[in-house]
Amino acid sequence: MTNVAVQAGALDVGSQANRSALGRAVSAVTSRLVIIVPYLWLLVFFLIPFIIVFKISLSQTAIAMPPYTPVMGLGDGISGLFNQLRELGIDNYIWLTEDPLYFNAYVSSVVIAGISTFLALLVGFPIAYGMARAPATIRPTLLMLVILPFWTSFLIRVYAWIGILKPEGLLNQFLLATGVIDEPLVILNTHAAIFIGIVYSYLPFMILPLYSTLEKMDFSLIEAAQDLGCTPIGAFWKITFPLALPGVVAGCMLVFIPAVGEFVIPDLLGGSQTLMIGKTLWNEFFANRDWPVSSAVAVILLLLLVVPIMIFQSAQARAQEQGR
């Protein structure tokens, strides 16, 4: 294989010399375009919006449309810019620290997302492990079955749980009919419902990276360990888990990061009592129409997630290097 590539490369040098100057110019332009078009798109619609969020988080709330006093326009020249710089304030951030609502929302978001991630790992690991040890012929089907729910709407899957979990819902009907319980369990509008919702919605994100690391694992290692007198549980902690660790990290990040900022699940399953930051941001924006404060909430949420996002990205980069 490499031989062919080397030969092709050697021939390529010869043909490049023959290619006309015009052809080279065209290919240079197209390769630039390949980079520039998606680059510009992401700059304009992904990076610049964050800068705007940061800018507005420093501005004052105003009763107008848009409901904030703009900061930093270039209309008034340099002196105008300096005047505006003086008006920038961290009032919104001070407001966030003064009202315990926000602090509690951040803490409870991280706690809820952390517990849900752990539960998703507990549920997802046996499934991924079972899949990796399944006969090779049915593995693609199992993989397809894990991915398929991901194609159905997130909103629909969360909505389906309302009918199951509510006091007169299907779960309580079933448990009452079979005599397991005497009176309906209250699950909807509690933290338990949020845990169920997050584990359910994000389970494929946990299973897929776990499966892809476990599938590559050499299971004869476990047999060897057991032959040498290791207990099955000992073999799991000494061999399986360390080897699956990259998948565990990737899976946990893929569940934890979006779960911290989750809005739909706490809103529909958690009821009005639950405090999560995604919901707080939504209410601040749509109900209170306080754009600067909701921008400040978003900036702090982003700062909170920078470390997990960087862990995820370095894991991605490493996987990319290995794939090469």
């Binding site: 798109w41 992904f46 848009p66």
Partner: protein
């Protein structure tokens, strides 16, 4: 291998898939419920599907959703494929770290942040919120998913094919369209489908980016769900699931056929 697939493994898979599928199955069953009470079975009926088609608001929203999905998925596929080519082919250019960061970050970014930031951009540049802004927002987050899907295919691509074509005198652009594109086409198709489903499912980002006259189906469903669970919504959800399921199954059948055909061609080539 079969011996090692123990009872524990089989049990965990069966329970796991029951957990994943039971809620969706129950939702579909109760969309055929005669009774208006969503969780009490009152006999089989398709009347909620009838009332669904007479619900102007839901139908308009469905039409908006489909148009947004088709346009945004198509543009996102082009941009995402370009981004994937950039990530795999151009390993050294200024700002590459920033670029790969911008491709991977939206995959895990909480939707409320993406939605809020896009809305503030639209307000800042004075773009009226509506159909166009929803499309722009959907393109932005779904192109990153397309990029990841196409990139994973490009990484296993045999570059000597392209070099051979260029040695035979094909200019790079022609090489791309005649060699590279057909080979990575299955990944591009699944990227498009992923972008389309992400678009028709999205609630949070649409709610921020949309304005009057551009209510999407998830936004409509969400506003009704808040008022309570109704069999009509179950019916709407079932139809959405059916559309996606048919699409996914059709795509996998097409993929499988193509794979079988390719293997046959390869075998024939080796024999000949």
């Amino acid at each position: 291998m079969n011996a090692s697939w123990s009872r524990f493994n089989i049990t965990s898979i069966v329970l796991g898939f029951a957990f994943l599928y039971l809620p969706i199955v129950l939702l579909i069953i109760f969309s055929f419920n005669e009774s208006k009470l969503v969780t009490v079975w009152g006999g089989f009926s398709t009347k909620w599907y009838g009332s669904l088609f007479n619900n102007r608001g839901l139908m308009d929203a469905a039409w908006v959703t489909i148009r947004v999905g088709l346009i945004s998925a198509t543009v996102a596929t082009v941009l995402g494929t370009l981004a994937a080519l950039t990530l795999t082919r151009y390993t050294r250019f200024r700002g590459r770290v920033l670029f790969s960061g911008m491709v991977f970050a939206p995959l895990v970014m909480p939707e409320v942040i993406t939605g809020l930031s896009l809305l503030l951009l639209f307000v800042a540049i004075g773009l009226d919120r509506g159909f166009l802004t929803v499309i722009l927002a959907h393109i932005t987050f779904s192109m990153c998913f397309v990029a990841v899907v196409v990139q994973s295919r490009l990484m296993t691509f045999d570059r000597s094919l392209e070099e051979a074509a260029m040695d035979l005198g094909a200019p790079p652009v022609k090489t791309f369209f005649q060699i590279t594109l057909p080979v990575i086409m299955p990944a591009i198709v699944s990227g498009w489908m992923l972008a389309f489903t992400l678009s028709i499912d999205d609630l949070v980002i649409s709610s921020f980016a949309s304005g009057p006259g551009a209510t999407t189906l998830p936004m409509k469903i969400y506003s009704q769900v808040r008022l309570g669970v109704t069999p009509e919504i179950n019916a709407a959800c079932t139809l959405m699931i059916a559309v996606v399921a048919v699409g996914v199954i059709a795509a996998s059948v097409v993929n499988k056929r193509r794979e079988v055909q390719r293997q046959r061609d390869e075998q024939a080539a080796q024999r000949g």
